[in-house]
């Protein structure tokens, strides 16, 4: 090839690569525009503070779904974060031979397991023995999904703590456990919190595993709406799944109405 042709190929490929990058980002803009266009008009104060009206009536809000999401997230964080952060600390600090490799590998593999499979797992270990859907089961599923993300980011950030800090503390005669908990962890704190937020953001949008653990049917069954407290175990993503819009499901079956508020 002549140098001229080679330069031409270079420019062409650069443009193609730039085009690819543009196409990757394009859907984000389209979806954002779509959501603003279609959704912005429905958002007002009622949306956040009111319960859904029965299907067909105008008005109402998503208060129960928003509260449900927050409660599920809090419970999932309580279950998943301690194990995740300690596990990450272990991966970064341990000199064991096999367990760190295995745990790191399994964390990455678990990260790729579809959330719906984790939902089935939560169903078979919590819902089946307890004989009912519960927020606990949903939170457990979310915690399992969070765990590998938290483990891996904590590990990375603990590794970033400079060795000189550790050495300085150890040289003062401070026992290792204190060095880890009082020097290393606080130094890595900001980063770990970021990792935690990423994990929470990821599970906040989870839908599939909640369909058969926390079981949020969105249908406006009057039975549940007339109750004084909101249905807690319902989260906003399941709210927007068309299979659960209540037009499909029959009215408040005896099994359902108790399951919704069973937590």
């Amino acid at each position: 090839m002549t140098p001229r042709a080679r330069r031409g190929v270079n420019v062409l490929m650069s443009w193609l690569a730039a085009l690819a990058a543009g196409l990757v980002v394009l859907p984000l803009l389209m979806i954002f525009a779509f959501l603003l266009w279609q959704g912005a008009s429905a958002v007002n104060l009622d949306f956040f503070t009111h319960l859904p009206k029965p299907v067909g009536e105008v008005g109402g809000g998503m208060a129960n779904a928003i509260v449900g999401t927050l409660m599920l997230l809090a419970l999932a964080a309580v279950l998943g974060l301690p194990v995740g952060i300690l596990g990450g600390l272990y991966l970064a600090e341990s000199r064991d031979r096999r367990l760190p490799w295995l745990a790191r590998f399994l964390a990455d593999v678990l990260n790729g397991v579809p959330s719906i499979v984790i939902g089935i797992f939560a169903y078979s270990v919590i819902v089946l023995p307890m004989r009912r859907f519960s927020a606990l089961a949903g939170a457990f599923a979310l915690a399992v999904i969070m765990l590998p993300i938290v483990v891996r980011t904590s590990e990375e950030l603990v590794r970033l703590v400079p060795a000189s800090l550790r050495e300085a503390a150890l040289a003062l005669g401070i026992p290792q456990w204190k060095v880890l908990l009082r020097v290393v962890l606080p130094t890595a704190r900001a980063g770990i919190i970021t990792g935690v937020m990423v994990a929470i953001a990821r599970v906040a949008g989870e839908t599939a595993p909640l369909l058969f653990t926390a079981f949020g049917t969105a249908s406006g069954t009057r039975g549940s709406i007339s109750r004084s407290r909101p249905c807690r175990c319902r989260s906003s993503p399941t709210q927007s799944h068309p299979m659960t819009t209540g037009t499909v499901r029959p009215g408040p079956g005896p099994s359902c109405s108790s399951a919704w508020c069973s937590w």
Binding site: A17, A21, P100, S124, P148
Partner: protein, 321 residues
């Protein structure tokens, strides 16, 4: 067989004398063990819960295509087919785009443009899948029905892939939605792989007079090849397991159809749709067996992917998602 020779190992670090050290060690080790046990528990509990279906159908479960909850006849072929076809379709679209974008971000783009685009790519990955599903139903499906599918049918209609009435929802919509969802993962991981390629590789190629693109092709892509395959497999893992968005646009009909316009069904979406409504124990067990199948497939794909990605950058410099 390897002969095991007992060599006295020199302990690199002194045994902890302090009680606090021992306690912390135990606690940390327990946390890591929890992770390992969790994965084991997943396998055990799912095998146990799907046992009735395994006993009733055996291997026939994987070889028949009737899905009739009323007659309690369950075969997984339509779902396996739907999952594989939609994922392959997604990869077909996503791989060139993802790797192209990664090359741009890691090699060719001017320095000032890299951080904002990388950030946007990560945002694409952070959108919840129901949102993609909603967008698929309200924007993508009508678009396909009115414009794309008639045009494809007219020009490429002689292929069995593009025949049949344009519904909008169906295999094609699922493949496109999946491609959009998977592409940021492929881009992000490929970019990390490319960034992990040593600079000396590039310098050597540039010193020989190669252009930027030639450097990328000769020195960078070739060096990071296995990592890129890993990135693609990671994307495949995502596509196989993606549930909500696909459920919303694929049409949910358990059939094996050649045409991309026809509705289909995937393993993940049948579980999502029918799990809460399964009326008999055998039905439920069959659904759980489908979940187990999905689990096994994704674990294999992901394990391969991780090993390949680690082979470039090493496990410690983690590939974040």
């Amino acid at each position: 067989m390897a002969v095991v020779v007992a060599v006295p190992r020199v302990e690199a670090q002194a045994a902890p004398r302090n009680l606090g050290d021992q306690v912390l060690r135990l606690v940390l080790r327990a946390a890591a063990l929890t992770l390992v046990l969790l994965v084991l528990a997943m396998v055990v509990s799912m095998v146990r819960a799907s046992w009735p279906a395994m006993r009733a159908f055996g291997w026939r479960f994987l070889a028949t295509s009737t899905w009739d909850p009323v007659a309690e006849q369950f075969g997984a072929i339509p779902f396996v087919y739907g999952t594989l076809l939609s994922s392959l379709l997604a990869l077909l679209i996503a791989v060139p785009l993802g790797i192209g974008a990664a090359i741009y971000l890691a090699e060719l783009a001017p320095a000032w443009i890299r951080p904002p685009i990388a950030f946007l790519v990560e945002l694409v990955a952070a959108v919840p899948s129901v949102i993609y599903g909603l967008w698929g139903i309200f924007v993508l499906a009508p678009l396909l029905r009115v414009w794309v599918q008639p045009a494809l049918g007219k020009t490429l209609g002689f292929l069995p892939l593009f025949q049949g009435p344009p519904y909008g929802v169906g295999m094609l919509a699922a493949g496109i939605i999946l491609a959009i969802m998977v592409v940021p993962y492929i881009t992000a991981v490929s970019r990390e792989v490319l960034l992990a390629v040593p600079t000396s590789q590039r310098e050597a190629a540039l010193a020989l007079g190669a252009t930027r693109w030639e450097t990328t092709r000769i020195a960078v892509l070739r060096y990071g090849r296995s990592g890129l395959v890993g990135a693609i497999l990671l994307g495949l893992g995502r596509a196989l397991g993606e549930t909500m968005a696909v459920t919303m646009v694929i049409g949910n009909r358990p059939e094996v159809a050649v045409s991309l316009f026809a509705p289909g069904y995937t393993m993940a979406s049948v579980v999502a749709n029918e799990f809460a409504e399964a009326t008999s124990d055998l039905y439920l067990a069959a659904l759980i067996e489908i979940g187990l199948l999905l689990f096994v497939v994704t674990v294999i794909v992901n394990a391969l992917a991780r090993l390949l990605v680690w082979s470039v950058g090493g496990p410690v410099k983690a590939v974040r998602e």
